[in-house]
Subunit: 351 residues, 2 copies
DNA sequence: AGGTACTGTGGGAGCGCTCCCACAAGTGAT
DNA sequence: ATCACTTGTGGGAGCGCTCCCACAGTACCT
């Protein structure tokens, strides 16, 4: 019998109070049960659970958030202005991992775009209002002020792809260095001798690490150093095409190329075709990401697979841990965590 | 200065009350100002706005949600269990449109996965708790109970890709029928006479519409009907391959194929290659979606582009309108809206 | 017997808003 | 001058929770 002050509420969903009345206990006890407190007798717990089931009670998140000063939500912030990153399988794979990890919890996932200035401002207000318990950061550039803002607001955050070796935030990354080594060692194993590298955007730490891996793999195999075999790309197809053309000009005798991304490799492939080089007979080609493009390229592209879904999972695990044990930031810095996950080479016909 | 009852709150963010004190007005007045009520004098409004700026006040969403019984959040529900859909550019493009449309509002976007049974259950609880003001539904199958659940809970919802011609929810879709016609008419224009079609999953309404478009385009061009030229696929690469093989067996003289998706076309391409048919010399190939795969295929694939980003935008616009004017469901049914956006053929070397 | 320590429980206070009623002050018709 | 509105404003009540204090009951020491 909906009684006093019914404000057109959607059919009067049951409240904690009603559950308490039904179970013949106090409000506090119901709260303890639904929050899994151990300080409740078994009999009482059973009675409350029965009442919850009978009434179809679902806690009101807003009330809980207001009273407990937490939100049970985390945000995934996508700072990319040009949403290039966004269209890559990278994004959806990570989302899948994040979603899977989250489905074990009560946490909700908010998607926040911070490309434009206005979106940035909105994000800043949003974070200032502490409307999420934690933040997942992907694809952040070295000069982005976001991580510092987060640190200042003391909002737990995990970043995918550390900005540098000195990353202060908890981070999850794939082994860019090792992945590059795998690619180059694979090419060496295939008998290639003059292996070039088209880099990614070098303001991205992971791209730098791939260059390091490329260099070290060659050095360890006793190959002479040759800076002319390295050309800067920017992860784009056009960049790959241009870089490949430059490399062919400088080192027409090259017999293999390791590209910092599959899209870059696709660009390189065009340039190679135009120059009349066959893949893999004349020039072997290896990409990075193992995206759909790699599988559908002609010939199919050998590529380095990152365990992206697993990275998403890891990020959630780390973030939830930080949210849970909310320590003073001082101590937090001591055991900051940098997780690095192994990559895997997927060999195909291009090499 | 922090006085009574400070519960370790994060540095005491200012409240409505504090803004009111600072501006020398009452709480109600501040509330009116921040909610844009017209019933405030200009002088008072200015004073309140100044106080808001000085204090850096940001409203507490939880309190607002609790008091006003709304959440200022909408959910994007992804019901796909196998997240195939998810890896398609389709998803990220739509997300981009949704994000763009949303950035003009105060609404937040929640991403909810409803693949597994557990996720389903969580979603049901979530919706029952009215934790979002509206729901965006993508990639919903004909037998999914979700739309009905939404209707019963009276939660505004917009669906992308109506489940049938009799869709009861507000929907946004691209013109599958027209897109298929464009593809077939393009092939006819190129002088092709024996045009086959590999369908998508026929339990998806859009796939049916593409078949209709294919049929009508041929009929209108005076081509004889030939059911043997149609083979069922399932949007997958493997399905495309198998369907192509079957078609070649039945109609070895076919000279063109319209595939219901780019991925399907990629599968068809493999089968054609294996059969020794050249593309486009022997058989012209047209796909659907204009995904990255189409651009990177060899030869590049002619494909039908859907205005997906625009669809995302439209969905948000429609949903927010429904959220805003919360009418009784009865009247809502009368002017339910079905928006259909035009497609565009992107001609490439495969046809 | 008295103390101390727990365990389980009830319920007051309060989280920061919105809603709405009350009311002061101004405006115009009667 | 009286009444009836309108406009702008203040502040009480209440949204549904969590937190925490108080307290009854039981158990185990001295």
């Amino acid at each position: 019998m909906a009684s006093h002050g019914v404000r057109g509420r959607g059919g009067g969903r049951p409240t904690l109070e009603e559950v308490a009345a039904r179970a013949g206990v106090g409000r506090g006890t119901v709260s303890r049960v639904i929050n899994g407190s151990p300080r409740v007798s078994d009999a009482t717990r059973a009675a409350v659970e029965a009442a919850v089931a009978e009434l179809g009670y679902v806690p009101n998140t807003a009330a809980r958030a207001l009273a407990a000063n937490r939100t049970d939500a985390i945000a995934l912030v996508v700072p990319e202005p040009e949403t290039r990153f966004f269209a890559e399988p990278y994004f959806s794979d990570m989302l899948r991992g994040v979603g899977a990890a989250l489905s074990d919890t009560e946490m909700q996932l908010l998607l926040i775009f911070a490309g434009s200035d206005r979106e940035r401002q909105r994000l800043a207000d949003y974070l200032a209002a502490h409307r999420v318990d934690g933040v997942l950061l992907v694809s952040v550039h070295a000069d982005d002020p976001l991580p510092d803002m987060l640190a200042q607001l003391e909002i737990p955050a995990v970043i995918s792809g550390p900005r540098s070796a000195a990353e202060t935030l908890t981070s999850v990354d794939s082994d860019n260095y090792g992945g590059a080594r795998q690619a180059v060692e694979h090419l060496i194993g295939r008998g290639r001798r003059r292996i070039a590298h088209i880099t990614g955007r070098l303001d991205v730490y992971g791209a730098q690490r791939r260059v390091d891996g490329y260099r070290d793999a060659l050095r360890d195999a006793g190959h002479p150093e040759d800076e002319l075999m390295i050309e800067a790309g920017d992860f784009s197809e056009e960049g790959g095409r241009g870089a490949m053309a430059a490399l062919l000009e400088r080192r027409p005798d090259l017999d293999a190329v390791f590209a910092a991304s599959d899209v870059t490799a696709a660009g390189a492939r065009h340039a190679l075709r135009e120059a009349g080089r066959r893949i893999p007979e004349d020039v072997a080609l290896v990409g990075y990401d193992d995206s759909a493009i790699a599988r559908h390229m002609d010939p199919p592209l050998t590529s380095v697979r990152q365990p992206i879904e697993e990275m998403g999972r890891s990020m959630i695990d780390l973030l939830l841990a930080e949210v849970a044990d909310r320590r003073p930031p001082a101590s937090r810095e001591l055991d900051r965590r940098q997780v690095v996950l192994a990559t895997e080479l997927v060999a195909r016909a291009s090499s």
